[in-house]
Subunit: 326 residues, 2 copies
């Protein structure tokens, strides 16, 4: 679906469920953040142009001999969990749904290439840092930082917090979640299907409590949604797109995203750019959905902290809300 058409977007392109917004770079400046931040696919930013030659052989030769973080999952889902919150042990029956290993890139590639159906799937997710070789470093320095800085400035974002490189098997899924930072998600190799939901779908996606290791992840399993426990998930309508090499997807903070490496199209490589939020702007009423999510997170943290016991959080919210507000 491409509601924009060959002529590029016009001013009143609606962000329709199931549609894909494809903006030319030139249009982005016009339509970016029309009322509130909205996801866009940018096709001509040249953001990671030098990385478009980063096939596995090139990476093997040039990524250096640093240690890389590789996740293993018994199924296709790589559901993130917060190690610090897992260590807190406030959810006693929590079992990490994936395991994490550290290995040299060459070692990763051997396992990655030898992988057979039925074995645990692999997903490399690691910050691009100083341990990389000179060629990669040069490529990195040749990213379109000038454009990034102009966007950062224009929208008053905070600092770039990290660049992660993702190398995944076809069929790998990052289940639906939201991040608290602005994200440019650059596709390098292979194809990624993304499904996006605006922040106001918070109530349809039932994120875990903030103190839970799966904080920011939805409890709704897209493979077999439990509509009895999560009835509002029925109302979910999202935005779907497929990223190709060279595409950059802007994922505004608090926007939910499900990301999957397309089956039958080989492995995928992506690089993301996370930016911290800028200073808080003047509060406007009615409150933006993003602000409400931030507020909910804050309330949960304050209450969990004040009660001194996460097991009392549910009963307190129940006493507060049930029969009174709900």
């Amino acid at each position: 679906v491409d509601p924009v058409g060959a002529d590029g977007p016009s001013a009143d392109v609606p962000l329709v469920p199931g549609g894909v917004i494809r903006h030319k770079h030139g249009y982005m400046r016009r339509y970016f953040f029309p009322m509130e931040p909205v996801p866009v696919i940018l096709t001509d930013t040249n953001l990671v142009k030098p990385a478009l030659s980063w096939n596995l052989e090139y990476l093997e030769k040039n990524l250096g001999d640093g240690d890389f973080s590789v996740f293993y999952s018994k199924d296709h889902k790589f559901k993130y969990y917060d190690q610090a919150k897992y260590n807190d042990k406030v959810v006693p029956d929590f079992t990490p749904p994936m395991s994490q290993a550290t290995m040299k890139f060459s070692e990763f590639l051997v396992k990655f290439r030898q992988w057979k159906h039925g074995q645990p799937r692999m997903y490399l997710q690691h910050p691009l840092n100083d341990s990389v070789g000179k060629a990669i470093k040069d490529d990195f320095l040749a990213f379109n930082w000038k454009w990034l800085e102009s966007v950062q400035k224009e929208h008053n974002w905070g600092n770039l917090s990290s660049n992660l490189i993702y190398i995944g098997m076809e069929g790998n899924v990052t289940p639906v979640h939201y991040d608290e930072q602005e994200n440019f998600f650059a596709q390098v190799e292979g194809f990624k299907r993304c499904i996006l939901f605006p922040p106001e779908t918070f109530e349809c996606l039932y994120p875990y409590p903030v103190f839970h290791p799966h904080d920011r992840q939805s409890q709704v399993d897209f493979d077999k949604p439990d509509f009895e426990s999560f009835p509002k998930a029925r109302h979910l309508r999202g935005f779907e797109c497929v990223l190709e090499p060279g595409d950059v997807l802007y994922i505004p903070k608090y926007w939910w995203h499900h990301v999957e490496s397309l089956l039958g199209a080989g492995h995928t490589t992506s690089i993301n750019f996370w930016y911290k939020s800028g200073p808080l702007t003047q509060v406007e009423y009615p409150l933006k959905p993003q602000r409400k999510v931030a507020m909910i997170r804050n309330l949960e943290k304050v209450v969990t902290e004040a009660l001194g016991n996460p097991f009392e959080v549910g009963p307190l919210f129940e006493a507060l809300a049930l029969g009174r507000y709900i």
Copy 2:
């Protein structure tokens, strides 16, 4: 029911539902606030001893010609509402369940004495202030302020905020609610039946939202409880007592109380002493039920304020809690 018996209380008298705790003054100092504040009936404080001669004739003669606040209710219930919150009009379909009039005391007495079944009931509720005559002023000054001050000091209460005088018809009911101040409720004439519930029954009593004119009042109607809307009201177990002239009931802040003037026993006159809370003490875990109620009130206020629209409060708490904590 008098679990204490003729010998006075012993150290392990349990505060059993339906029971009445009758403490001698001498014992109060020992058993007051055993773990946390608990209601007691004090029978020998002599707190308002000079007022025990305040029958209607005496009051008529000595209360002075100030204006008094009198509530009218079409039934037996005098359900308090906050005029300021009513003025806010955040609950558009709210109708005050009683009306308020201002009149001289003599005028009140005429109407009070001529009242016939089927007419709106009357309840005088007015601060004892400087407009009273000399005899009343002298009586007032002869209250047991020395004892009050010793209690206030011992328990680190704040200032006395007000003394109200209540003159009600037999059968008048003040429906179940809680106050945010410490209260000594002194019975002067007639008999009042009180039913008390501890702060932890908050969830069983479903108070209105804080921005509602009926803030601090229960939504549960004790005449015909709606157990479908308020299922936990089934679990309510309270403490019942009947106050006689000379009795002083200590109602700790956040303790729920239903007060009714006993039928067939004539009109009632009471005087209360409200004390502000003292400075916050060190937080102890697990949090006391009083603290939790204060916290819930705070959260509701913060959220109502931050959203800038009370109609968004319910949806926000629903998004926060439903399918996530509840």
